[in-house]
């Protein structure tokens, strides 16, 4: 049977698409408009056109540059961390050694733990009187000074990045395991006849055959890194003095603490353009290789 024309199709299509348009497309357009207006939470009926004023404020705001820097720190630590560890775990597990199922569950539990709960646990473990400091100071005797993991900006970014890795390795593992199942076995056999060791096999056979998966994981994780919000919001709230701010926490704060919705809209567009640009760039680079 051919596809049908006519009204029945519209009855299924229109109500739902309209719903989608109202709650996603319309806000998308409104957001773009807001970014050119002086628009404050304190008076939602007052909109004053200020052209590129909000964008100018974004780029002149030193906290914006701090937040951009922090996103890069977070990405540079957590993206490779998740990819390398996720690959190694997948590689160790996909050959179905005894215990594979148990390990898979263990590595996957952080993935299904919610961001809020995971952030609270990390906050507790890394507080000044937390278990980690006890372990470092009184069990290992590395130092006798309390390490302020969360009030030192550099260390706090490390903690948050580590949380990102902890939570994401299981995800990368699952995707890599699916890809590894698809690598033809006879290639490995040929390689071992040629006297290749395990590392050579990984480098010359495994990695090239799962390249598209690696690209996909990398792209998703970079987008994910830009979207980091809950962990920073709950663990440091961008502090001390905005030193651990990332783009989304800054946007949230501008909107709902400083009531500057226009600025926040402009920032969210800058944010979206950066993500789109990076994604495009990665596609280009991937094609060239």
């Amino acid at each position: 049977m051919r596809k049908k024309n006519g009204t029945a199709g519209y009855l299924f299509f229109l109500p739902v698409f309209l719903f989608f348009a109202v709650f996603i497309l319309y806000p998308l357009i409104r957001n773009f408009l807001y970014s050119f207006y002086d628009f404050r939470l304190t008076d939602l009926n007052h909109l004053e056109f200020i052209g590129l004023g909000n964008y100018r404020h974004v780029f002149q705001d030193h906290v914006f540059w701090i937040s951009l820097k922090n996103i890069f720190i977070y990405g540079i630590i957590s993206v490779p961390g998740q990819m390398v560890l996720g690959f190694l775990v997948a590689y160790a597990l996909y050959q179905n050694r005894p215990g594979t199922k148990t390990f898979r569950v263990l590595f996957f539990l952080p993935v299904i733990t919610s961001w809020v709960v995971a952030s609270l646990i990390f906050k507790f473990v890394f507080t000044d009187q937390g278990y980690l400091n006890y372990f470092i100071m009184d069990v290992l005797h590395f130092t006798d000074k309390t390490i302020s993991w969360l009030s030192d900006p550099g260390k706090a970014m490390m903690v948050v990045s580590f949380l990102g890795i902890w939570k994401g390795v299981g995800w990368a593992m699952v995707i890599y395991m699916a890809a590894l199942q698809g690598v033809p076995k006879d290639q490995y056999e040929a390689a071992s006849l040629d006297g290749c060791n395990a590392w050579q096999q990984i480098r010359h056979i495994t990695l090239p055959s799962i390249r598209s998966t690696t690209f996909f994981i990398q792209m998703m994780l970079i987008i994910g890194a830009f979207n980091v919000f809950t962990s920073i919001y709950l663990i440091t709230d961008g502090g001390p003095l905005h030193q651990t701010e990332v783009m989304l926490t800054r946007m949230y704060q501008k909107a709902f603490t400083e009531y500057d919705l226009g600025y926040a809209s402009a920032l969210s567009y800058v944010f979206a353009v950066i993500i789109a640009g990076l994604t495009f760039l990665q596609f280009r680079l991937n094609k060239q290789e």
Partner: protein, 275 residues
Amino acid sequence: MRSLWKSICVYAFLVVGGLISIYPLVYMFMTALKPMTLLFEFPPRFLPSEMTLSNFRNAWVSQNFALYLFNSVLVTIASFGLIFLFSSMLAFAYSRFDFKGKKLSFTILMGGLVIPSLTLLIPQFVLIRQLGMFDSRWGLIVIYTAGAIPFTTFMLKGFFDSISRDIDESVEMEGGNAWTLFSSIILPLSKPAFVPATIFNALTVWEEFPWALTIINDPAKRTLPIALANFQGQYTTQWGIVFAGSLIAILPIILLFLLLQRYFIAGITAGAVKG
């Protein structure tokens, strides 16, 4: 001999990694079992010297976590119902009909897959206020539903397309209309596609934080994630109760995961498209 060494190395790596993965969760559990007075005891103990369920009782009764659990369940189930009704209708239209604007609307819809949801926070906030859904569970449900439509439609359309069109013809010959085909043939046949999609959406809705934080003020309408965040920030943190509440929040998901592991992994792998 070499392969024995290799095995030892591999297992050492897995055991260390597995312990790091599970340790924070076990530690949370142990802390929830500790009486409040021992929270910052020195030296800290991993296994509590005294165990108590008082934190769970406190969280459940005096801190209203029973209510927050109820709110979370309500919002998740309602969002679910709408996500499936809407997405399957849309997927059915794309899979079985030709109509004007089909290609364009589908491209726009798939564009929705790549919009980071937080970039819509401000205009959605204004819109929801104007619609009078501020500080209401409906405000959560409609936004969760709208956000899940692109991905779920994409997934279901793929499955609907794989159902043979010969079935359409036989339904028509027996005098059935499009609704008959949709409700008594296509939907029942698509159960295998619904399970992974359900799990992916359930996880997303269940743990959603920023949007709920933005529009819910009334303590009686809080869902678990914002209740936890709020309780944590309130006083000198009573971590035992926070973690008892956290366990109430994640145990349903963990149990579901242990029961339906295969589908979970399929759902997450498919959901990877959405990131």
